[in-house]
Symmetry: C2
Subunit: 126 residues, 2 copies
DNA sequence: CTGTCTGTTATAGTATATATAGAACAAACG
DNA sequence: CGTTTGTTCTATATATACTATAACAGACAG
């Protein structure tokens, strides 16, 4: 299953759905133009309410990952652009990681090695 | 002021306090052994409830940033260790950034350049 | 000892966020 | 027409966040 949920955790379900789809795209399990289950179907599949899935789809749409048609349903966007909003999100996460690392005295080379391993890990899964 | 709050945002206040202190450490504004205001004093200074500050201090203590004495109050830990728990937190943020970047087709070199700039930005502020 | 300040805990009330539920809408297609 | 799509609306139960008041044990100054 592309969607993996942790009901016991403190991360909202709609956020987990959103992250699962983005991760699936990064891992090559989902590609540009691929169809996604309907809001109602996915809700049944993973055992959550329709509105929870709908909120996740709305997030993915707002972030540019989903292209939603009134009739044909949801699909992965044909062109996944690397715009400023995406760069801002990425940098925000990198900044949080860098602050945590630098405050603990991690060297720059070790930090960059960690960055490289995180990226390479995705290349292998693709 | 070391603590900056965004009351309109969706990030919990205690989380913002926690992040502000960690950022201050990374920027050299706070160093190992430096004292922090008392829970009640900081609460008055930034205009929030005492319990909100207390929760932030508890988080910082759990993450190893604060060494709390019953009487003398809260201080930055004498030795900010780079243990496994910290490495896990850092990698979690890096992984989220890498996924977002890789799913958008960002090249590895561009990603690493972004990582380097995030880290260098902290060095300059120190 | 008395008084004060420290972190900490307990309890309670309020506001917001999350998740669920049922219903309905407009649009697209067979 | 009938079905399915995303979307919107209302309602409810639960969890979290924040505030508020109070109290406790420990440590220090007087």
């Amino acid at each position: 299953m592309i969607i993996t949920l942790d009901l016991a955790g403190d991360v909202p379900i709609y956020q987990q759905i959103r992250d699962s789809v983005v991760a699936a795209i990064a891992q090559g399990k989902l590609r540009e133009g691929d169809p996604l289950p309907s809001v109602r179907q996915l809700a049944v599949d993973i055992g959550v309410n329709m509105h929870t899935v709908n909120k996740a789809y709305a997030l993915l749409k707002a972030d540019g990952y989903l292209s939603i048609d009134r009739r044909s349903g949801a699909r992965i966007s044909e062109r996944l652009l690397l715009d400023d909003a995406v760069r801002a999100r990425i940098f925000e996460n990198l900044n949080a990681a860098a602050i945590e690392a630098y405050s603990r005295g991690m060297t720059e080379s070790e930090f960059l090695t960690l960055c490289e391993s995180a990226f390479d890990q995705l290349k292998e899964e693709a």
